[in-house]
């Protein structure tokens, strides 16, 4: 059974609530493929890596508070969402994350030049994965002007083409908008009309209008906390309705038996005799978001509300004052941003450099290398069809030709001398000569 998370910007806190519920009550669902776009891809990645939810929540709240701090909110020049996200990912994702998620994580991207949807699931290196995740979160203008590259092609937010990538028939869809998804908030409304934007069904209700505005403008921590709770409750209701909650022992038995799952009522028939399952289901009926997560939210709410500064800022007069001083604060913000940009230049261009390095794998480069260098080692053998094959091994560590390393890459390599393994040697297997 696969999961799919809808992209939704700052509403992504909803996915955190869903993730908490799945981890607690249906860990077997996390064994399959997980797809997502934008923030959905990020949460999918975190789920696959089994990162501690508490840390993720803290990080999301950190991003939100940074976004709310600037003069123009998330549109302030000093707030660079791409950098903030990259920082978070560098910090929390394990070193071998690309190995863990390759083949499981499916990231939906939109190719910039033709607007077509691309789903990526293989990530040879950690940088590749980070790059794909960043590209999937790139909203033009909001995140920056030039979309990031992934394998040399510019991509932007998957939400522009397929916001809820469905891999096959048995995909559980998770969306923070009330609509036709498996796990989504159920608004108190009986509206018959809904739209289908980029594969995400969105009911035309007042609540959804409000949510839509929250995609790019993060709300207060109180509202975020409620959204997270809602995610947890909705996921729990889904599991209850589909009989997917069992005790750990029964789960272990189930997962050894059924390798392919179907979203049928029959497959998840829990053992009615198992007392432990029963109590587990009973507990789940009244369960709420775990305390660890709730405390984090409570802290964020408290820190946003307590203190003399916050009290002053909440006064109506002060709010008008901040609005009036906006024209003066924005230029200052821009100046500050252009100064700090110098400092973070390296991080932004980092991705682009990686992609040029990836080009080394193309055929032209291999051809260039082989014609300009002497083979270190070559061996010949006959393959199964009795054809002569040759494998040559080249040492290109010190090669100075542009074919191997661009001047920029050479510089980087000199700076990153501790990081040897990816610039080490290129093995060219160009059989059949």
């Amino acid at each position: 059974m696969n999961l799919s998370f809808a992209g939704c910007g700052f509403l992504g806190i909803y996915h955190v609530g869903v993730a908490v519920c799945f981890k607690k009550y249906a860990p077997h669902l996390l064994l399959g493929k997980i797809s997502g776009a934008s923030f959905g891809a990020l949460s999918a990645c975190c789920l696959l890596c089994d990162l501690p939810i508490g840390e993720i929540t803290t990080d999301v709240l950190r991003v939100v508070s940074e976004a709310r701090a600037g003069s123009l909110g998330p549109f302030s020049p000093s707030f660079n969402i791409q950098n903030v996200l990259l920082e978070g990912m560098q910090k929390y994702l394990p070193h071998d994350v690309h190995k863990i998620v390759s083949g499981k994580l499916h990231i939906s991207l939109t190719r910039v030049y033709d607007g077509k949807n691309v789903i990526v699931s293989e990530f040879p290196t950690r940088e590749d994965l980070l790059q794909a995740l960043l590209a999937s979160c790139f909203v033009p203008v909001f995140s920056g002007l030039l979309p990031p590259r992934f394998h040399g092609i510019r991509y932007m937010d998957g939400g522009f083409s397929d916001n809820l990538p469905v891999l096959d028939e048995n995909t559980i869809t998770v969306s923070p908008f009330c609509g036709e998804s498996d796990i989504c908030p159920r608004d108190l409304s009986s509206q018959l009309f809904h739209v289908n934007l980029a594969n995400t069904s969105i009911e035309l209700s007042k609540q959804n209008m409000n949510r839509f505005a929250r995609i790019l403008f993060p709300p207060k921590p109180e509202v975020l906390s409620n959204m997270c709770k809602q995610g947890f409750d909705d996921a729990l209701r889904f599991l209850q309705r589909n009989n997917m909650i069992s005790c750990t022992r029964c789960l272990a038995v189930q997962s050894t038996f059924q390798l392919q799952d179907v979203l049928d009522d029959t497959t998840y028939e829990y053992d009615p005799d198992c007392e432990e399952c029963k109590t587990h289901r009973q507990d789940a009926l009244v369960d709420d978001l775990p305390d660890t997560v709730m405390t984090i939210f409570q802290n964020a709410i408290d820190s946003a509300n307590s203190g003399i500064v916050n009290w002053v800022m909440r006064q109506r007069a002060m709010r008008y004052l901040t609005l009036l001083t906006l024209p003066y604060r924005v230029p200052i913000d821009i100046m500050y941003a252009s100064f700090t940009k110098r400092a973070s230049e390296f991080r932004i261009t980092y991705g682009d450099m990686r992609t040029t390095h990836d080009d080394v794998d193309t055929f032209e480069h291999i051809l260039n290398v082989t014609s300009h260098n002497e083979a270190l080692l070559a061996y010949y053998y006959l393959d199964s069809e009795n054809k002569m094959k040759m494998t040559e091994i080249y040492d290109v560590t010190d090669a100075d030709t542009d074919a191997v390393q661009s001047p920029m890459e050479r510089d980087v390599n000199k700076q990153l001398e501790f990081d040897n393994d990816w610039s080490a040697e290129l093995i060219a297997d160009n059989g059949q000569y």
Binding site: S189, S190, Q191, L192, N196, N199, S201, L263, D265
Partner: protein, 393 residues
């Protein structure tokens, strides 16, 4: 109100055709409907049924019938809000294999007449019920299985309340208008001002106003906002991505009379003024009901539970179709067809009419006490204009 049925091409005017995109739409609607129906494997007849003056001066109901020679109890299908009979194409073949099937465009929708309905919710509802009853009388069916989707489900229920002796079995597919509007005192505090402002501004408009306001871009708007519907039809119609948005657009770009009536029935954002929950007890307890709804549908799916609670489980069958949304007949057509056929088999086996006849007013209209014999099309009254083409494949 016969002008909408006028198939003559519109004459050119001084506006140079700039405002004429809806002018020809009945001819266009006929063509596009024919294209969709060409995917059917069963032979069908299409005709207008003249039901006289029910709402307007002379109302006509556009009907398609399949396999009407069969002696079994016919199935009558009522579509949902903003739809038309052609959207049943994934289901018609399967139902028509065993019994006569009639699908109609509800009065005010599709190719039927578009008279002005009453502006009172109860009256508008009664008008719709009467139009279905008049239609039944004209087509001369004594008893039938009534299937309604969404708004059609609401009308079907209202019909079953008024004329229980005509309905052999009621099948509701994700029906609209059952739940009571819950009081939400906090709504004002929860929503920002701008959202409430937009909601208040949109409230007096007909639900699909945007499609007509978009003018020539309406078809594009439909295909962009609901690409999922066309995609689901791809299994049945090869060029669905072109035909289905065109059909939906043409159905809704004309005078929005059915839509206005739906708007009359509605209060707030999509709630019924007279929800069926209040009237569940008025449905004959002997009348069997099958409720089908999709697990993903956002229309309140407590309908089934409410019916079971009020009527007991013996006469009410509730089925949830996993993975299906509101358009349950389209999302999972095989399962939907299976459940409906099961309901039809139950209807064949069990005749509630003796019980109904006792329970209801004895002055039977013209209902014979014996199992219904379906009159062949040859003794249809002259009012039925069997104009259109019969098709065999």
């Amino acid at each position: 109100m016969g002008s909408e049925l006028n198939l003559e091409p519109a004459e050119s005017s001084w506006t140079g055709g700039w405002f004429s995109w809806t002018r020809q739409s009945d001819a266009m609607l006929r063509n596009v409907e024919k294209k969709i129906l060409s995917c059917l494997k069963t032979a069908y007849k299409r005709f207008y049924v003249d039901i006289g003056s029910v709402v307007g001066q002379s109302d006509k109901i556009w009907t398609i019938s399949l396999n009407d020679e069969s002696p079994k109890i016919p199935l009558v299908m009522l579509h949902g809000m903003g739809a038309g009979l052609a959207l049943w194409c994934p289901n018609l073949d399967s139902f028509a294999a065993s019994r006569p099937v009639y699908a109609i465009d509800l009065l005010g929708f599709g190719r039927s007449s578009r008279p002005k309905f009453a502006s009172d919710a109860q009256k508008a509802e009664a008008q719709w019920v009467e139009s279905v009853e008049e239609w039944r009388r004209e087509v001369n069916i004594a008893q039938f299985i009534l299937l309604g989707h969404s708004l059609g489900g609401y009308i079907a229920t209202a019909y079953a309340i008024k004329y229980p002796e005509r309905v052999r079995h009621l099948v509701l597919a994700d029906p609209w208008g059952f739940a009571e509007r819950p009081p939400n005192a906090y709504e004002k505090a929860q929503l920002p001002l701008w959202v409430r402002a937009i909601a208040t501004a949109v409230q007096p408009l007909n639900p699909l106003w945007a499609v007509r306001a978009a003018g020539p871009a309406g078809k594009w708007l439909v295909s962009k906002t609901r690409p999922d519907i066309s995609r689901k039809y791809l299994n049945f119609i090869p060029d669905a991505e072109k035909v289905i948005p065109e059909y939906i657009y043409q159905c809704n770009s004309q005078t929005p009379s059915g839509e206005a009536a739906f708007h009359t029935l509605m209060t707030g954002f999509g709630w019924a003024k007279n929800p069926m929950v209040r009237r569940v007890d008025e449905i004959d307890p002997a009348l069997p009901i099958t409720v089908l709804y999709g697990s993903r549908s956002w229309v309140d799916n407590s309908t089934g539970q409410v019916l079971v609670e009020h009527r007991g489980p013996t006469n009410t069958f509730v089925q949830v179709i996993n993975g299906a949304g509101h358009h349950v007949y389209l999302d999972k057509p095989e399962q939907f067809n299976k459940f409906v056929l099961e309901a039809c088999t139950r209807a064949d086996a069990h005749d509630p009419r003796p019980a109904l006849a006792v329970a209801n007013k004895p002055p039977a209209l013209e209902a014979p006490a014996v199992p219904p014999a379906i009159e062949g099309p040859d003794n249809l009254p002259g009012k039925v204009q069997s104009t259109s083409e019969a098709r065999t494949s």
